[in-house]
Symmetry: C2
Subunit: 362 residues, 2 copies
DNA sequence: TGCTTGGATGGAACCGCTTCCACGGAGGAG
DNA sequence: CTCCTCCGTGGAAGCGGTTCCATCCAAGCA
C-alpha cells in the first residue's frame, strides 16, 4: 500500500501538504490540492488509521461494554448506540461480556489506550478503581442503565417503575400481589431487580398492605427459574391473583407456569413485566416500558458531548406503563376485565397496534 | 500516561528489554523481567494499541459489516461471531449498514487500513472492486450468508431450502401453494428470496404442478408488505391453501393477514417461513431453520484461519425443516392435521420444547 | 591463558501520519 | 523602491511501540 510520502513524491509536493489536503486544515492552493488529489486517486492511497491515531492521540472509536446477548434488551440499546454514532464519525468496538467472571476481568484488562476514545458501559457496574484507570487514561465513560454518583449516565427510576407496576395491579383491585425477581447481589451486580422490588413493596405499603415474604420469590435471571418460582406461587394454598416480574424475561416464565398449571391469564392471574422488550409487544404483556433504543442513543450522545469536551451530564428516562392484555381485575370482579382472547389474536393485535417495529425495512 | 521509555528508565533497562518482557519474545533474565514488571505495575503502564498497530502492522481487530438491525437474524449471527472471537484475542468493530445507499458508500469508504486485520461481511454483496481493494490492503474477507465465487464464505443452499419447505406442503397434500417474497434486485442486493423462490418452483414442477404467477407475490421485505400480499392472495376467487414465505419476517405478515381475514391457521391456511428466528419459535411457525448463530461462529472461524495464514475455505450450512404448528393438511382432509390450539398454548409449547433459548443466563 | 560462542541487553531505526517551524515569494503600504 | 505581511509550502520532529543489530560478558574449550 502507498503511504503519504509516495503520494507527496508523485504530486511533487511535501508530505505536510498532502496531510493538509487530507485534513483540509489550512489553506492549500487550488492547483496544488488538485495535483495531490490526483496522486491519491492514482495510488489508491488510504491513510493508515493506526498512524493517525498514534500521531493525533485520537482513535475515532468508542467502545461499548455490555452483556449483549444475555439480555435482549441490551441489543435494543446497542441499536440506539449505533444509530446515534453512525453520523458522528466514530466507530464502535464491541466488548461483549458473556459470563459474570468475565465482567471483572474484561474491565480490568480492557486494553483501551490507543484503541478507544470513550467508553459506553451498559448495565454493568464498574468499580471505582476501574473508573479511575479509565479516567487516568483520559477516557470518558458514560453509563447506560446504571446510576452511579459522579459518573454521567442514562438511567431510569427502577423503584418508581416498581411502584407503577404494582399500583396498576392495586388499582385493578388485586391484593395478593406476588413478586418474581433476581437473586440480589447476583454475579453481574445488576441492581435493577432490587430497586423494582423496593418500589413494589413501597406501593403495597402505601396501599396499607404489608408485603408478604412468601409472595416474593428471587432466583437467577432465567426464564426457567422464574417459571419454577411462579409454579410455587400458584401452588400456595392461597395463591396470588397477580404477579409483578422484575423483567419481561421473567414475566414470560410466569406466563409459562400459568399455562402449565392451567391458570388463565388475565382471568385468574394478572402478570406485569418490566422493560418492554420486543417479545412483550408480541405477547401482549402488560409491562413497564423504558425506551431501550433511546437509552442507547442518549448514552451515545452524552459520550459524544464528553468527547467534545463538554461537561459530563446525566439523563433520566421516563418510564411508562404499557397496559396490554395480561392484566385485569381479579376473577369474579369484572371491573375492567379484558375479554379473553386467543394468544394469536393478542399477538396480532399487538403487532398491528404498536407503531414500533423491531424489524426494520430492507 | 506512562510510556515504554518511562518504564525502561524506572527499571534501569533499555526500551527493547521492556518490549521483550511485554511480548515475552526472547529470553529475558529472571531478575530483569522482575524489575520491569515492577516498574510496569508502579507506573500503571498500558501499552498503546495504536503504537503497537503502527509498528507491527496488525491491529488485532476484525470488522463486521452487516445490516444489523434491519433483520433480527443478523443479530443472532453477530452473537455467533462474538462468541467465537471472544477467546481469540481479536476485538470486534461494528460497521452497521442501516440503509441500502449506505451499503455501497460504507463499502467504498470503509476505512480499514490500520484499523482492522480482517473483515466479515454479513448478508451484503460486495462488488469485485471492493473486494479487490480489500485484497490489495491485505485484508482477508469472509462472507456470511452469501455465496460468491472466489471468496470464502458461510452459506446455505437457499434453493434447496425452498424445495424443502414446498415439499413439506406438497406432502401434506397442498396443491395451491403461494409464495410471498422480496422484490428481486432490491436495494441491498439480497438474493436469498430469489433462490428460495426458485426452489419453490422446482419443487412444484417436480410434483407435476405448474407454478402460477398469480400465486407468487413479491414486495419489499417488510411485514406490512407481506401482509398486504397475503391479503390479496386470500381474496382470490380460489385462494391458496398454503403459503411459503421467503423469511419468517414475512411469514409473520402472512399470519397477520390470515388473522385479519378470519382464516384459521393451520386449518384453512398453512404457512411456512424461512430462517428460524427467535420469534418463529415462540409463534410455533413451521420454518426452514438455518443455524444462525453457528453461521456467525463459523464465519469468524474461517476468518481466523485466513488471518493465521491458512488457505481460504468455505462452508455450507445444513438446512432443516422445523415443523411446528402453522402447517397441516388442507381443510377437510384430516391427514396429519394438527389440533387447533390457542396461540398461548402454541407459544408455551414452543418455548418449553425448544432447547435453544434466545435469552441466556445472567 | 586466550579465544570462541552464545545469551542478555541497549539503542537506533522504523512504522506512517500530524504539526510546528522556518522559509520564500508576492502583494500592499509607506 | 524598500520593507513588512502573510499565504503557501517543505520538511523535521515526534507520537509509542517493535525489531534488528551491535555490544558486552561469562562460560566453555583448546
Amino acid at each position: 500500500m502507498s503511504t503519504i510520502a509516495s503520494v507527496a513524491a508523485l504530486a511533487g509536493v511535501g508530505v505536510g501538504t498532502v496531510s493538509r489536503v487530507l485534513n483540509d486544515s489550512t489553506a492549500v492552493s487550488g492547483s496544488t490540492r488538485m495535483r495531490v488529489l490526483e496522486a491519491i486517486e492514482a495510488l489508491e492511497f488510504e491513510p493508515s488509521a493506526a498512524a493517525r491515531a498514534l500521531s493525533t492521540g485520537r482513535t475515532c472509536t468508542v467502545g461499548v461494554l455490555a452483556p449483549f446477548f444475555t439480555e435482549p434488551s441490551v441489543v435494543e440499546r446497542l441499536r440506539g448506540v449505533t444509530r446515534r454514532l453512525a453520523s458522528s464519525g466514530y466507530q464502535v468496538t464491541l466488548f461483549d461480556v458473556e459470563r459474570p467472571e468475565q465482567g471483572d476481568a474484561v474491565f480490568s484488562t480492557l486494553a483501551v489506550k490507543g484503541r478507544i476514545d470513550g467508553l459506553l458501559v451498559v448495565s454493568l457496574p464498574p468499580t471505582g478503581t476501574q473508573l479511575e484507570r479509565l479516567h487516568g487514561a483520559g477516557i470518558p465513560v458514560v453509563l447506560v442503565d446504571r446510576r452511579l454518583e459522579g459518573t454521567p449516565g442514562v438511567f431510569s427510576d427502577d423503584e418508581a417503575g416498581g411502584r407503577l407496576a404494582t399500583q396498576h395491579l392495586l388499582d385493578l383491585g388485586h391484593e395478593r400481589i406476588a413478586f418474581v425477581g433476581d437473586t440480589e447481589n447476583g454475579p453481574f451486580g445488576f441492581t435493577s431487580s432490587e430497586a423494582r422490588r423496593a418500589g413494589y413493596e413501597a406501593a403495597l405499603q402505601a396501599a396499607g398492605l404489608e408485603p408478604r415474604p412468601e409472595l416474593a420469590r428471587l432466583g437467577p435471571h432465567r426464564r426457567d427459574a422464574a417459571r419454577a418460582a411462579a409454579a410455587e406461587l400458584l401452588g400456595l394454598s392461597v395463591p396470588p391473583t397477580a404477579v409483578f416480574a422484575a423483567s419481561d424475561h421473567q414475566a414470560l416464565g410466569v406466563l409459562e407456569a400459568a399455562a402449565m398449571a392451567g391458570v388463565q391469564v388475565p382471568e385468574r392471574l394478572s402478570v406485569v413485566g418490566f422493560d418492554d422488550i420486543e417479545l412483550a409487544r408480541y405477547c401482549g404483556l402488560t409491562t413497564v416500558a423504558q425506551p431501550l433504543e433511546a437509552s442507547g442513543a442518549r448514552g451515545a450522545e452524552l459520550l459524544l458531548e464528553a468527547l467534545a469536551g463538554g461537561a459530563p451530564r446525566s439523563h433520566e428516562l421516563r418510564l411508562d406503563l404499557q397496559v396490554r392484555s395480561t392484566t385485569a381485575s381479579p376473577a369474579g370482579d369484572g371491573t375492567n376485565a379484558v375479554e379473553s382472547r386467543s394468544m394469536r389474536t393478542r399477538l396480532l393485535n399487538g403487532m398491528m397496534r404498536e407503531p414500533k417495529q423491531f424489524e426494520g425495512e430492507r
